[in-house]
Amino acid sequence: MEWIVALVIGVMTASGVYLVLRARTFPVVLGLTLLSYAVNVFLFTMGRLQVGQAAIISPDTTAYTDPLPQALVLTAIVIAFGMTAFLIVLSLKARSELGNDHVDGLSYVAEEQAVKSRQKAGN
């Protein structure tokens, strides 16, 4: 079971990093979401993978599942959820204020205008 979880975390992280490096805000938001999913699964596995065990320790238990990573994941999920919501709103604001969804909004616009004016001058 370990290898499949490790594979899932690895693939999600790789996809997340790839998307974060994209030039437009929407893929970046998706990338950050994927990264936070990967982190959550990773935190969860740090308590070691146990199937069908209770999260209770008593002197005579031999196997148990660690409850702390679950609490950490819960906190991380809530925070990541709030941050994603904020980022989406900010991206929309940037889209409406900068006129495009490019991460480097203004300089992109400036370059575009420079290209246009050069074309005009060429005509």
């Binding site: 997340g16 974060v20 805000t25 970046v28 950050l32 990264l35 936070s36 990967a38 982190v39 990773f42 935190l43 596995t45 740090m46 308590g47 070691r48 702390l68 990573p69 950490l72 906190t75 991380a76 925070i79 990541a80 709030g82 941050m83 904020f86 980022l87 900010l90 991206s91 604001k93 940037a94 204020e97 900068l98 991460v103 480097d104 909004g105 203004l106």
Partner: protein, 507 residues
């Protein structure tokens, strides 16, 4: 008996933030009074916490009365007390300036965000738990996103977007690092982590080192260390001046976290892992300093220049931490206090100049003379002297102390060359901006700047005057910072204080 002092500076701004949500009903005037009241109250309380920390040693507060390695603890030592006091002082000036310039009228809930920002900062300075540090980082970041974007504007949105995205990536990395440490060591309490560091098996040392360096990346994003500083100039130069001044402490949070986490975890009790970060910090610090000085030279506006000056101060501090001896740490703390306050003053001055020049704003181009140009020019001269490290103001003493502690270090030639050359180049760049802004007056057109704002200028002067105060009080200040450095070098005392804290017994 569990002490209440670690929890008060965290609770007060939180209560303030909640109270401000309700005082919206009473209008802006009420919000201003409440916000000022809570910030002034914070200074009183943090002065008392500093007094308690220096006289009574480590103070530990068990949240929920759970014993240390299992529950979350807040720990007050002299370093956190100093940082909390510094935050409170800087925030009072930032708040006064925001009120004087009506920054809080440009959007809603400025004061609430401001108090929650202080809540996050103080929490980050006082927590003794790694995951709790992450949570407080998120609190202070979310508040800082709000403050950074407060008032709106295209450039602000763009700079803010970059800031938010890189910090969200940083949060993910933080969780990866925290998870790895928990997976190997089974604890997140910093004292317990430090105690267990000696028992790490040879097989696990690599993975612990990886987690530690991942944490260094995260704190490096906050502190703006090369190559992770590119977000800073855009974010700081485009936000409102009061917020930029408050954010002078934000980069220091990253540095504090490095001193606290890496300094405690990888002190000598860590065995082979001890001091794995110091050389790296030294070289990254020098590299950051070089690039920051280039930035100071290349800046097109005074605000951008101030942002690069903040970066240069962070770099100097990194060099101080990287030298890794008690005297260097003490000197760095003195320089930290100085650079935070004067960096904040520099942003306020840049804003005053930009407003005075009207449509020319803070761009480094000659413009029609602004009103009260002589006063402004003198203030610029004083700020430049303080921040570039020329005698007789506090920057000079900070740098001398840092360089003094570098004598005998294997790379002392590099440290001296880069720090001194950096100071010289910063001075030249600042002299150039000063002469463009204040001497090269162009005659075409009338000055269309805002009228002279007495209250805002008074706030700026008061903040700047803390630099001579730091010089006059250099004796007691260095005594305090030496005491802090001594306390930090004894990580055993920290571990014992946290893990030995008894719970409060019920009746």
């Amino acid at each position: 008996m569990s002490s209440v002092w670690p929890v008060l500076p965290v609770l007060l701004p939180l209560i303030g933030g909640i109270a401000l949500l309700f005082s919206r009903l009473g209008g802006l005037q009420l919000q201003r009074s409440v916000s000022l009241l809570f910030t002034a109250g914070l200074i009183v309380i943090t002065l008392q916490t500093l007094f308690v920390a220096t006289t009574e040693g480590h103070q530990v507060y068990l949240l929920g009365n759970w014993l240390a390695p299992y529950g979350i603890v807040l720990v007050l030592d002299q370093l956190s007390a100093l940082m909390v006091l510094l935050t409170a002082v800087l925030s009072l000036f930032a708040l006064l300036y925001a009120i004087a310039q009506d920054t809080d009228k440009q959007g809603e809930d400025f004061h609430t965000l401001f108090q929650i920002q202080l809540f996050g900062l103080n929490g980050a300075f006082l927590t003794g738990d790694l995951f709790n540090l992450f949570v407080f980082f998120e609190v202070l970041l979310l508040a800082s996103y709000g403050l950074l974007l407060h008032g709106g504007g295209r450039l602000r949105t763009k700079g803010g977007l970059h800031y938010v995205v890189i910090n969200l990536v940083g949060s993910s990395l933080f969780l990866f690092a925290v998870g790895t440490l928990y997976g190997v060591l089974g604890t997140l309490n910093m004292a317990d982590l430090a105690a267990k560091m000696a028992t790490v098996s040879a097989d696990d040392q690599g993975i612990v080192a990886a987690a530690a360096l991942l944490l260094l990346v995260v704190f490096g994003i906050k502190a703006a260390i090369f190559p992770l500083y590119l977000w800073l100039p855009g974010a700081y130069a485009n936000t409102s001046a009061a917020v930029a001044a408050l954010f002078a402490i934000m980069t220091k949070v990253g540095l504090y976290a490095i001193i606290r986490v890496h300094g405690t975890l990888f002190a000598e009790q860590a065995g082979p892992l001890a001091g794995l970060h110091t050389d790296l910090l030294l070289w990254l610090g020098m590299l950051t300093l070089i690039l920051a000085v280039f930035g100071v030279f290349a800046a097109r506006g005074l605000k951008e220049q101030a942002a690069f000056l903040i970066l240069a101060s962070v770099a100097t501090l990194l060099v101080g931490i990287g030298i890794d001896n008690s005297a260097a740490l003490s000197a760095s703390l003195y320089y930290l206090v100085h650079s935070t306050l004067i960096g904040g003053a520099m942003f306020l001055l840049a804003d005053l100049v930009a407003r005075g020049r009207g449509s020319y704003a803070d761009r480094l181009r000659s413009a029609p003379a602004m009103s009260r140009a002589i006063l402004m020019g003198s203030l610029f001269l004083l700020s430049a002297i303080a921040i570039a490290g020329v005698p007789p103001l506090s920057g000079f003493f900070g740098k001398v102390l840092i360089l003094d502690s570098a004598i005998g270090h294997p790379s002392q030639a590099w440290i001296f060359t880069i720090v001194l050359l950096g100071s010289l180049l910063m001075m030249i760049a600042l002299a150039r901006s000063g002469s463009i802004l204040f001497y090269q007056v162009s005659d075409d057109g009338e000055n269309d700047g805002q009228a002279f704002n007495t209250r805002a200028t008074t706030v700026m002067i008061a903040l700047l005057m803390l630099s001579p105060v730091l010089v006059v009080a250099a004796g007691p200040m260095t005594m305090l910072t030496e005491q802090i450095a001594e306390q930090l070098s004894d990580s055993r005392a920290y571990i014992d204080a946290v893990l030995g804290q008894a719970a409060v017994r019920g009746k």
